[in-house]
Symmetry: C2
């Protein structure tokens, strides 16, 4: 079971990389070098992030990508929802007519509770929080286990 797919994982790393960038824009090729992921796949991901409004892009020579939203405002769930759809831990498999507990399924209730808490925690993770922590660690040259 995966909470986060490769799409999302790549996208988050790309967003972090773009957010940390000093230049105005960064091209897909530059990102490929930093992130070591397949170029066509990353390009598709960047195009999606652009369409979804998280990135701005500029075409042509010297073009590339920049954040369209401040890193504090991009949460992990935002990215997950783009690439994985709504965050649902729980999708009941039973047709309504078949389930004797349709109106009061304990299992569903419990999973729904867990889901709510997970989403709250995922929303607390932002691009800003990720790069902040990592840069700090870098600065102090204290690398955890």
């Amino acid at each position: 079971m995966k909470l986060i797919t490769r799409n999302t994982d790549y996208a988050v790393r790309a967003l972090c990389c773009i957010a940390e960038q000093k230049q105005e824009v960064i091209s897909a090729d530059q990102l490929v070098k930093s992130l070591k992921m397949p170029r066509p796949f990353l390009r598709k991901i960047l195009q999606t992030l652009n369409k979804e409004g998280l990135l701005n892009s500029s075409m042509g020579k010297g073009g590339g990508f920049a954040l369209a939203v401040s890193p504090e405002k991009i949460t992990l769930t935002d990215v997950m929802e783009i690439f994985q759809g709504p965050t649902r831990l729980n999708e009941c498999k039973f047709r309504k007519s078949d389930c004797p507990y349709i109106n009061d399924c304990f299992l569903k209730k419990k999973i729904d509770e867990i889901e709510k808490e997970v989403i709250v925690k995922l929303k607390a993770i932002t691009i800003a929080s990720i790069i902040k922590k990592e840069v700090n660690v870098d600065d102090k040259e204290v690398r955890g286990l």
Copy 2:
């Protein structure tokens, strides 16, 4: 994203059904009638639960399945691990050599924390707790929304 697959879902319902049973054993055919799921699929699931030690089976005429473990001791994670492997919300996709934050990845840390809490909550859900709640609701004839 799914926390629980159909395999697991069917298995949990089958275990509940078996646990609620008055008879000593219940056959796959009887379970199919109660649970309205594909017979060959349920049979495979029951065989797996048997191999994994959650059920006892008896072959031949009058045979069937019974719980091998008390319903209080069967947790949702037990069943999930049988059908879905270890409960991992987080599988880092990056090769170690490629990841600049391999030793201190904030994203991984955060997801690991969430994962731990989810597992604690999943372990708290047992077959006993599921049937207890549902039977209670039934008894009172109070059906929630």
